[in-house]
Assembly symmetry: C2
Homo-oligomer: 201 residues x 2
């Protein structure tokens, strides 16, 4: 019984499973989603889903990566269409932060931080995702500096820190304490960035 580990001959069945996984997880949350649920949604058996992915965790990782790829595309599109660097930064913040305490992308991150896969390949993929956001934000900041809108000595570092700051706020939103809403996080982060980047007399 061949159990595939590489993904060379993947017949897009894989993609179908991922789609199903994304749907179900969006509905009931990744932590409550059983392999069975995904299989049912994709119209196949649970054993068969595992035939493709090997273990449940792999489905989570791949779903996160897919979900981040989507988010990245959206991000690049929306940022490119921003009328100003200030707008671009604002859009980035809004796109980065979770939509609420049950945001799929962030809940997936939470799952994977709780049970981190240690293989180099996955870690590298994570790194790429994170880097995409940092770079996008750094570019926007740089544009604002050239523009005169912002003041910033080292856009890359500032962007990296801003992403970490957003991670922290995202955590709070995920935790779901009263008052720690998306709106609160967005405005807190924007305020912090304003303090950091504002050109003051």
């Amino acid at each position: 019984m061949p159990r595939r580990t590489d993904d060379a001959p993947r017949p897009s069945q894989r993609a179908a499973v991922l789609k199903a996984a994304m749907e179900v997880m969006a509905e009931k949350g990744p932590e409550k989603t059983r392999v069975q649920d995904i299989a049912a949604r994709a119209g196949m058996s649970a054993g068969h889903v595992l035939y493709y992915f090997g273990k449940r965790d792999r489905i989570l990782v791949d779903t996160l990566l897919e979900s981040e790829a989507d988010a990245g595309t959206q991000r690049d599109r929306r940022v490119a269409a921003a009328p100003s660097p200030l707008d671009a930064v604002e859009r980035l913040v809004r796109l980065y932060l979770p939509s609420g305490s049950s945001d799929l992308r962030w809940k997936l991150w939470a799952q994977l931080v709780a049970r981190p896969p240690q293989d180099a390949e996955t870690l590298a993929a994570y790194d790429g995702v994170l880097d995409g956001w940092t770079t996008a934000l750094a570019d926007a900041i740089r544009a604002g500096v050239d523009d005169g809108t912002f003041t910033c000595r080292d856009p890359r570092t500032t962007a990296y820190r801003a992403c970490r700051l957003m991670d922290g706020y995202a955590l709070e939103v995920l935790l779901g304490a009263p008052g720690r809403t998306r709106a609160w996080a967005v405005s807190s982060v924007l305020e912090a960035l304003d303090d950091e980047l504002a050109t003051r007399p």
Copy 2:
């Protein structure tokens, strides 16, 4: 069969379980720790452990709270002994950040963010813990401002943001990508705080 939900008549058996839990979890990580393991360490049956805690998640929460209580005590002691505000801040950063990718306190947080208990009591406890750190850091910053060491308009806000920034760095350390070590996190955060607080001509 009475199943206790309140904790009024807890005969310190509870404390013994928590101690066992902390030990085992420190050894193999909270996510790999079975109720059975904790019971074995505490010299009792698995069913009996659940008799006290109701569900495994509760053990995690209580272990985290215990672990944070310890950390809080340590924190207040070490900060009180700091020779200067600058030192106090530095100590706080070192104490807050994870000791590595398998830091128990942080791994417990990761577990609980992945599967957040929604009862108000637990959320309130979390809030208290977080507030302890923010307050400690704010106090240190304030002392530094009075001192002339730091410049800061709003110490409380700065402290809060610094905690969120540290959360973000902590996440990276937990994820365990190469290079994202505790040492890296500590120096990155200290640098960020220096940029934020430094009194410049």
